[in-house]
C-alpha cells in the first residue's frame, strides 16, 4: 500500500479503531468507578487512581451504594474510617465512606451530606470536623463548589440543573481522555502489587501511600515532614484568626448540617477529629489552644438544639492513642500503632472511635460533649496535657518547642495557662 489516498484511508480507519479500543479499555477498567463495571480480581478490582478523582468517583459510588450511614470528612476520614469495620453496629449498615481527600473544607462536607441525605435511605450521618477549617474567615464562602455541579440535588433538594452537562463531561473524562487511558492501564498493571492504592465500593481506601512511605522512609520522616507542613498551616491559621471575635467562622455551616439532618430525620453525629501530640503541641505553641476550647464549647451549644438528634464527640485530647511516641531519627523499622503522621490516624483508631461512639464500649478515648460537660472536658484535657508535657517524662514533640510561648510549663513543672482568644 502506498499513495496519499490509501494513507489517509488507513489513517482514518486506524484512528477510529484506536478510539473504539480506548473507549472499550476505559469502560472495562473503569478506573474511577464511574460506570460500576463489575470488579474482576486481577483486572480491575482495585482502583489505584480513583483517589485523584475522589469527588467524581464518590458521587457516582454513593448513588449506587444506598447506604444507611454515611461518614463525611476529609482525608483522615477517607483513610482512617473503614466502612466495612466490624465495629459498626448492624443497624447502621451498610456504611458508605464519603471522606474526600485533598483538604476539603466544611462547606464540602455540608454538600456531600446533603447529597447523601437527599437521595433517601440514610438514617445516620457521621461528620468529622477539622479544627483548622474553623480558623479561616471567609474560607467557606463559596456558594457552589465546582465539584458540586455533578451532585444529583441542588442545595434546596430539587434536581441539580448543572448535573446533565456535568455528567456528559464526566462520561467523556472517564472514557475519552488520555488521563483516563493512562489510569486504566495503571489500574490493570497494579492489580498484583502487594500494596496498592484502592477505593472500595463503600468508599473506603487502602493506606498504601502511607505504608509505602513508612517502608521507604520510616515513620520518623513522615512525622517530621508533616510537622513542617502543619506548622506552616497553623501559623497561617493563627494570622487569619487573629483579632476575630464572636463565633468561629464556619459554625453556621455546621448549623446548616444540623438543620438538613433534622429535616430528613437523620441522626447526626459530629466528631472533632483526633490529632497526634505533635499537632496538638503546635496549636499550643501558636497560642491556638483557646480557639480549640472555643470550638468545642460552640459546637456543644449547637448540638444542644432542642428536638434535634445531634451528638457531639471530641477526640482531640492527650490520651493513650494520641500521645504515642514517634520513632527516633534514622529508625526506619519501628512502626507507630495509631497514627501515620500527626493528622492522619490509622484504621485501628477509626474502629476504636466507631466502637466508642456507637457501641458505648472500647478503651477510654474521647468523650461525648454536651453543654453541661464541655467546660469540665476542656479542663480535663488541659490536665492531661499537663501530665504529659510537664510530668516526669516531659514529653516533647518532634519539632522542638523553642519558640514562645514554649511548652507552657513553668520551670517547676506547673502548667501555665493560655487564656482567651489570641
Amino acid at each position: 500500500m502506498s499513495g496519499p489516498r490509501s494513507f489517509l484511508r488507513t489513517w482514518i480507519l486506524s484512528l477510529m479503531a484506536f478510539a473504539v479500543l480506548v473507549v472499550s479499555v476505559n469502560l472495562l477498567a473503569d478506573p474511577y468507578d464511574v460506570f460500576g463495571t463489575p470488579r474482576i480480581a486481577g483486572f480491575n478490582a482495585r482502583k489505584p487512581t480513583a483517589r485523584d478523582h475522589a469527588m467524581l468517583t464518590k458521587t457516582y459510588q454513593v448513588a449506587r451504594a444506598h447506604p444507611a450511614t454515611v461518614v463525611i470528612g476529609s482525608s483522615p476520614v477517607y483513610l482512617g474510617i473503614d466502612a466495612f469495620s466490624p465495629a459498626w453496629p448492624a443497624a447502621m449498615r451498610p456504611v458508605y465512606n464519603y471522606g474526600i481527600p485533598g483538604g476539603y473544607a466544611t462547606l464540602a462536607s455540608l454538600e456531600t451530606l446533603r447529597e447523601a441525605i437527599f437521595a433517601g435511605g440514610v438514617k445516620d450521618a457521621v461528620v468529622f470536623l477539622d479544627f483548622q477549617n474553623f480558623l479561616v474567615p471567609g474560607g467557606d464562602s463559596a456558594a457552589v463548589t465546582e465539584e458540586s455541579r455533578r451532585f444529583r440535588f441542588a442545595p434546596d433538594g430539587s434536581p441539580n440543573p448543572y448535573r446533565p452537562r456535568q455528567m456528559a463531561e464526566d462520561m467523556f473524562l472517564a472514557l475519552g481522555t488520555m488521563s483516563a487511558l493512562t489510569d486504566s492501564l495503571i489500574t490493570v498493571a497494579r492489580q498484583e502489587k502487594p500494596v496498592s492504592l484502592d477505593m472500595a465500593r463503600d468508599g473506603s481506601a487502602t493506606e498504601a501511600d502511607f505504608i509505602n512511605a513508612a517502608n521507604a522512609d520510616g515513620m520518623h520522616d513522615m512525622f517530621a515532614q508533616k510537622d513542617m507542613f502543619e506548622a506552616e498551616r497553623a501559623n497561617r491559621s493563627k494570622r487569619a484568626i487573629a483579632g476575630w471575635t464572636g463565633p468561629l467562622p464556619g459554625l453556621d455551616i455546621v448549623s446548616r448540617m444540623i438543620r438538613v439532618a433534622h429535616a430528613h430525620h437523620v441522626k447526626l453525629t459530629l466528631v472533632i477529629a483526633p490529632h497526634h501530640f505533635d499537632s496538638l503541641e503546635l496549636y499550643w505553641r501558636d497560642g491556638l489552644w483557646p480557639r480549640i476550647e472555643q470550638l468545642k464549647t460552640e459546637l456543644a451549644a449547637l448540638a444542644a438544639t432542642p428536638d434535634h438528634d445531634v451528638i457531639l464527640w471530641d477526640f482531640m485530647d492527650y490520651g493513650t492513642f494520641t500521645t504515642e511516641d514517634v520513632p527516633l531519627v534514622g529508625d526506619r523499622r519501628t512502626e507507630t500503632h495509631w497514627f501515620w503522621e500527626p493528622t492522619h490516624f490509622k484504621k485501628q483508631v477509626g474502629s476504636i472511635m466507631i466502637q466508642r461512639m456507637f457501641d458505648g464500649d472500647g478503651p477510654a478515648f474521647g468523650a461525648a460533649l454536651t453543654q453541661a460537660n464541655v467546660a469540665a472536658r476542656n479542663a480535663d484535657v488541659r490536665t492531661e496535657r499537663q501530665a504529659v508535657v510537664c510530668g516526669p517524662d516531659r514529653k516533647r514533640p518532634l519539632t522542638a518547642l523553642d519558640k514562645p510561648p514554649g511548652d507552657g510549663c513553668a520551670s517547676n513543672g506547673v502548667v501555665l495557662r493560655q487564656n482567651g482568644p489570641t
Partner: protein, 540 residues
C-alpha cells in the same frame, strides 16, 4: 479559537475545508473568498471586537500601499513620506494597544507621575500582523510587490493558519502560491498536512503542557521571594526552556499543516534551535521568520545607513581582519543590541522581555567578536570546528537556558533569584526521600554541600525524567522538517544530500506504517485535548 481545541479540530476546520473544496470545485475565487471569510470568523471567535479593531487598520494599510504603488517611481519623495507615515501608523497602533500601559506604568514608577492605566483590549496576534503589514509596505515601496487587490491583501493578512502567531510571511512568498491554487481536494497535500498538524498537536499537549504543571510552582515561589536551591532552579530553567521549545515547535508544525490543507507552504520557522552550535546559529533556527524580518527591515537598513555615514567620514568599516574596535561597536554591536532590544520588547511589554532581548544581543556580539578574533589565535578552521563544536554547543545551550529564565520569570528580581539559585548561591538540596535512599552516597553529598530538604521526591523524579526525555527528543531526534523533507513540509525545505541514519529511519512516507503510527499519535493528542491551554507565543 485555539488550534488545540475540540471546537477547532472537530468543528471549524472540517467545515472550512469542506466549504473550500466544494466551492473550489466550482469556482476558485469563491473558495478564496470563503477562506478569507473563515479567517475572519476564526479571528473574531474569541472576541468579535477584534475584527472591529483590526479591519480599519487593514483598510488604511491597503490604501497606503496603493499610494506607494503609484508613487514609488513617479514621486519617490512622496512615497518615502507615505512609507514612513505607514510604518509610524502601524507602530503607533501596536504601541497603543500593547505598550501604552507599560510605558505609563514605567513613567509612574520612575518619576512618580500618575498616568491612569486603562484596561485595553489587545487585538489577537497584533504583533505578528503589524510586522507583516510593515513588511508589505516596505516591499511595495521597494517595488518588490505589485498587482494586488483588496481581496489578495485581506487573504494575505488574515490567512488563519499563520494569523495569530506566525510564521511572519512576506506577500511575495504567499501570493504566488494563492494565485496558483487549484482550491480542490488534493490528497498529497492533505496527507502531509494531517501529519504536520498532529505532530504539532502531540508536541504541544503531550510534551510541552505537562512540563508547565511542574515548573509553575517554582516560578511562583521565586516571585514570592522564596529562594530556590540549585536543583529546583535548574529544573525551573530547563523545564521552561523545553516547555516553550515544544510549545512553539508544536504550534509551528500545526500552522504548517493547516496551511498545507489548503495547498499553501508556509516558510520554515523552527529548526531544532537547541542543537545550535552558537548563538548566531540559534537565531537562524529559532523563530526564523522573526529573525528574517528584523534582519531585513531593521538591522540591515540601520547597518547600511551607519556604514555609509562612516564611509562618508572616511572611517573604517566593519568586515574582515581589519575591523577596528570602534567599527565593531558602531556597525555591529550597537545595531545588534538595538535589534535584539526590539525583539525583546516585541515579545512582551515588560522589563524581563527587554532584558532577555538585550542579553541575546550581547551574546550575539560576543559571538561575532569571537568570529573576528578566532582566526588570529586559532587559524585552522577545520580543526577548530572539530574540536570546539561541543564547547560551542554547551555554551550556547547554557546561555539559552539562562536567558529563558528571564522569558518566564514574572519579574526581573525573581529571574535574578533563580539565576542565583542556578549558580548555587542558595545551596544545593535533594528531597529527604531521595537522600534516605542514597545511603553512603547521601552522606557524601552532604559533605560537599548538598543537603536534604522536605521537598517532594516524586515531583523531582517526574521533572527529571520528563526533562531527560524531552532533551533526548530535542537533541537526538530529527525534526519534523527533516522527517518530511522529501515532501517539502515548509516553503523551500528540501532533503539534505546526506541524511543521517535517524532521519532515514524515521523518514515519512505515505505508507501503512506511518498511517497507523500517525493514527496513534493523533489519538494521543486528541485524548489530551481536555486540558485547554494557550500556546505561549499567542500572547505575543
Amino acid at each position: 479559537m485555539l488550534f488545540n481545541s475540540y471546537s477547532f479540530i472537530f468543528g471549524f476546520l472540517p467545515a472550512v475545508l469542506a466549504g473550500f473544496y466544494l466551492l473550489g470545485a466550482r469556482n476558485r475565487e469563491w473558495a478564496l473568498l470563503w477562506l478569507t471569510a473563515a479567517s475572519l470568523v476564526f479571528y473574531a471567535w474569541w472576541r468579535p471586537v477584534n475584527v472591529l479593531l483590526i479591519a480599519p487598520s487593514i483598510l488604511i494599510n491597503f490604501a497606503l500601499s496603493r499610494v506607494l504603488e503609484r508613487t514609488s517611481e513617479a514621486r519617490p519623495r512622496l512615497a518615502r513620506i507615505t512609507l514612513l507615515g505607514g510604518i509610524a501608523f502601524n507602530l503607533c497602533f501596536l504601541g497603543y494597544f500593547k505598550y501604552l500601559n507599560f510605558f505609563a506604568g514605567s513613567l509612574n514608577d520612575a518619576f512618580g507621575t500618575h498616568f491612569v492605566l486603562t484596561q485595553l483590549i489587545l487585538p489577537l496576534g497584533i504583533s505578528f500582523i503589524t510586522f507583516q503589514k510593515i513588511a508589505f509596505l516596505v516591499d511595495v515601496q521597494a517595488g518588490r510587490v505589485s498587482r494586488f487587490s483588496i481581496r489578495d491583501y485581506a487573504l494575505f493578512v488574515l490567512f488563519f493558519p499563520q494569523l495569530i502567531a506566525g510564521p511572519i510571511v512576506h506577500y511575495r512568498e504567499m501570493m504566488p502560491q494563492f494565485r496558483a491554487l487549484s482550491c480542490r481536494y488534493d490528497p498529497d497535500n492533505v496527507a502531509v498536512g494531517v501529519t504536520l498538524f498532529f505532530f504539532g498537536l502531540a508536541k504541544k499537549l503531550l510534551l510541552a503542557d505537562p512540563m508547565s504543571r511542574l515548573i509553575a510552582p517554582l516560578y511562583g515561589q521565586a516571585a514570592a521571594g522564596v529562594p530556590q536551591s540549585m536543583t529546583e532552579a535548574w529544573i525551573a530553567a530547563l523545564g521552561f526552556t523545553l516547555q516553550i521549545y515544544f510549545d512553539f515547535s508544536g504550534y509551528t508544525d500545526m500552522a504548517l499543516g493547516l496551511a498545507r490543507f489548503f495547498g499553501i507552504k508556509l516558510p520554515p520557522n523552527f529548526n531544532s534551535p537547541l542543537k545550535a552550535g552558537s548563538i548566531i546559529d540559534f537565531w537562524l533556527r529559532w523563530h526564523i521568520t522573526l529573525t528574517r524580518f528584523l534582519t531585513a527591515y531593521l538591522y540591515n537598513p540601520m547597518t547600511l545607513a551607519l556604514t555609509r555615514r562612516r564611509m562618508a567620514r572616511g572611517k573604517a568599516v566593519y568586515g574582515g581582519r581589519n575591523t577596528t574596535i570602534p567599527a565593531f561597536f558602531s556597525l555591529l554591536a550597537m545595531p545588534t543590541i538595538l535589534t535584539m532590544f526590539v525583539s525583546g520588547i516585541w515579545h512582551g511589554a515588560g522589563y524581563t522581555y527587554i532584558l532577555w532581548g538585550v542579553l541575546h544581543g550581547l551574546l550575539l556580539c560576543v559571538n561575532h567578536a569571537w568570529r573576528l578574533v578566532r582566526p588570529r589565535i586559532w587559524p585552522n578552521a577545520a580543526v577548530y570546528n572539530r574540536r570546539m563544536a561541543p564547547v560551542g554547543f554547551v555554551l550556547t545551550f547554557v546561555s539559552v537556558v539562562f536567558g529563558m529564565v528571564l522569558f518566564r520569570a514574572p519579574t526581573a528580581s525573581s529571574a535574578v533569584m533563580l539565576w542565583k539559585g542556578m549558580t548555587g548561591a542558595y545551596g544545593a538540596s535533594l528531597p529527604q526521600a531521595v537522600f534516605s535512599r542514597l545511603g553512603a552516597a547521601g552522606e557524601w553529598l552532604n559533605t560537599i554541600g548538598v543537603h536534604p530538604a522536605w521537598t517532594s521526591g516524586s515531583v523531582l523524579l517526574e521533572a527529571t525524567v520528563r526533562i531527560g526525555v524531552l532533551l533526548a527528543i530535542a537533541l537526538a531526534m530529527p525534526n519534523t522538517l527533516e522527517i518530511l523533507a522529501p515532501y517539502e513540509p515548509a516553503l523551500g525545505v528540501k532533503p539534505a544530500k546526506v541524511r543521517p541514519l535517524a532521519v532515514r529511519a524515521l523518514a515519512w512516507t505515505p505508507g501503512r506504517t506511518w498511517a497507523i503510527g500517525l493514527a496513534g499519535i493523533a489519538l494521543a493528542g486528541i485524548l489530551s485535548l481536555g486540558e485547554l491551554s494557550e500556546f505561549l507565543y499567542w500572547q505575543f
